[in-house]
Point group: C2
Chain length 472, copies 2
Amino acid sequence: MSETPDSAVHAVRTYIEQHRAAFLGDLAEWLRIPSVSAQPDRAGDVRRSAEWLAAKLTETGFTTVEVWETDGAPAVFAEWPSDDPDAPTVLVYGHHDVQPAAREDGWHTDPFEPTVVDGRMYARGAADDKGQVFFHTLGVRAHLAVTGRTAPAVNLKLIVEGEEESGSPHFRALVEAHAERLAADAVIVSDTGMWSETTPTVCTGMRGVADCEIELYGPDQDIHSGSFGGAVPNPATVAGRIVAALHDEHEHVAIPGFYDGVTELTDAERALVAELPFDEEAWLRTAKSHGTLGEAGFSTLERVWARPTAEVNGIGGGYQGPGGKTIVPASAQLKLSFRLVAGQDPAKIELAVRDWLAGLVPAGIRYEIVFGAPTRPCLTPLGHPALKAVAGAMSRAFDGAKVRYTREGGSGPAADLQDVLEAPVLFLGISVPSDGWHAPNEKIELDLLMKGVETTAHLWGDLPTALLATER
Amino acid sequence: MSETPDSAVHAVRTYIEQHRAAFLGDLAEWLRIPSVSAQPDRAGDVRRSAEWLAAKLTETGFTTVEVWETDGAPAVFAEWPSDDPDAPTVLVYGHHDVQPAAREDGWHTDPFEPTVVDGRMYARGAADDKGQVFFHTLGVRAHLAVTGRTAPAVNLKLIVEGEEESGSPHFRALVEAHAERLAADAVIVSDTGMWSETTPTVCTGMRGVADCEIELYGPDQDIHSGSFGGAVPNPATVAGRIVAALHDEHEHVAIPGFYDGVTELTDAERALVAELPFDEEAWLRTAKSHGTLGEAGFSTLERVWARPTAEVNGIGGGYQGPGGKTIVPASAQLKLSFRLVAGQDPAKIELAVRDWLAGLVPAGIRYEIVFGAPTRPCLTPLGHPALKAVAGAMSRAFDGAKVRYTREGGSGPAADLQDVLEAPVLFLGISVPSDGWHAPNEKIELDLLMKGVETTAHLWGDLPTALLATER
Ligand SMILES: [Zn+2]
Ligand SMILES: [Zn+2]
């Protein structure tokens, strides 16, 4: 990082200061477009959002800007090649669709009329994810301004999808269809957050997920529990026993082979997690939960970030109306999902679950199990030079603050990029937990938004050296 | 039974033969009244059914006949005192309401237009329970005719309720309100069946039932299983663990104290059960089930007749729609019921379940458990003189055939009579499994119906001696 002296930090800030007002005005314009992918009647707005972004990226200087169609909402692709033939290629991921929002959900202002109060911009999508996509437009301009370049030091690509809030149903197909054009030496996902306003962090991984539905069939119809109860197998009882067999008494997942290959946390990683100023009471409030329970031997953060899990998402069977009904139900259903961590292969997990299940279902009960499309886990090794570059650029933006590492317990389309493009995935986000993703009064802290701009302004200059180091 | 020689059997049959056509015509008239208690728009028909029966019982000779109002459908009470001041009092129980039925459910004939084909009368309620109530009208007349009496040898009472097919919601209150008028030395429930056409049997008991609903509350709302899964307790998982904890690996109920006081089957009783020509394949077809599973050490019949059980009637929690949803659910629900046998006290079972449950729910999960009104088990001791009288009368009706003993796995209002009136409950039924209770094309075998008439014609003469023996 020695090639960017303090004067560069100063120059970047000066440039950003000059363009901040126009930048925020543009962002507000984008946020006024209610690009809610989950609402069919907003499909026109999602398209308008894509076209607005495409026009703005062209204006920014991207030399190729295209709206890519999918079987759902359109994505935006943009490319700005470096003028350095040896430059590495970086692909930035984000999304331009937003969660639904309505004033009556508890918003103090119109969710699609951005409002700045006390240095915060309130609007649906301000943090998730329009603000965090948009800081790249000013970031690359600042990078050029302070380095005096006419093209970025990296081949910069952007893919901004339009269906993330609907589960990215067409994203993998899109990435596969355009794999060559999306090819990159590193992917930077711009759709996560930091630990807090005062603790800048870089996310280093997301869990994967595999999910299945299990149907259990007993009698051909609900039968009378007086006449037959106690002598025939009950599929709802079997469902309960399957659930109970998911874990042992230490809350370890008890499916044989489940932990095979798991990349265990190193002592160094555990120390980094333990360094974070974690307030379990506050975390429980966020989780709207009234107690912690998880795998023995791990802390709450380790459990949600770095440990695989088995979760019951849904269970049903028999009579669920008011009062009672004395039946042996004809069927029962289970929806299970398994969060996966680096080293776990969803295909092997599926086989392990199938084997385990076969041993649990008694004679007289027929069952079916169907798996959904899995999402692989992704993990940036702590020693990866690009990760160091991201952390370094962020530290410079945060006045030299120590940048720590977090992970994300959820799963996302980042894994599709990692899998299809075979590129390391890094995460860069400046949103904070109080930003209220998916909640009323979503906002972004404008000072942090500018730190995002600053971070990328430094990063594009730093990355070539860092990635060159990788290749050697 | 020596006081009724073979000539009595002959005399009863002759009398019945003479009155059979008129009797069947009357029954058909009653069956034309669609007294479906579960259908509010049939309330008028249920009342008409009660009034029709009351008129017919008056015509039969009962000296007191009353329609008793409840908070639901009316019941019919009738009394015909003996002219012998030492006569014991017998109360016959039945019901005049029927299950719903519609031609389009698969009936070959109009369910409310009785049709006789091949010695069977097809109609809703033919077996359950109008036919089995109605044989008492001809039975008592035959008893008088062949004994030359002007009043029965027992004080004969009838209580015929109008809501059995709706769960008898007001029956206990009715019995409590009229306990003095219903007081009896023995109750004869005329609402069960026999093993088969060729194996006459007397039912000697019904299981009781206690049921509860359990609500389990975890997070205040469904939360994201990626962000929080693996670190907070999941109420659907807890529901499954509760279900799994209901039984041990031998399918014994594992709730501490559950079996306390259970009246175990004697070797003699087990031998009697084993004597029955049980065809497990056929039984499984009736149960519409594809395998047997139950408490180790007991046969299928023992399991459903004489062993207490714990059954899951319903389970629900989290997402049950199509596809998946990666949540930790906010809540889960369980509906459990426990079949009880003689010696088990529902109040103690409730306490045992509450204690057991308290030990299963982890910190962070709040729960509620609510019990419904229990039904006690009832059991006629095999040595009871009245039971011997019933079996003896039946044997005579069945040409001296050996009468065997069964039980009923279900639970019914008989227990209310046993509890409130503190009288032994006996069961007398001539219906067979093929009669199709609650199903399309319900029918009664007319020859068996006449055996019911014959049985009571003998029984009222035999019971005084038998019950006198009890009192000594
Ligand atoms: Zn997002
Ligand atoms: Zn009935």
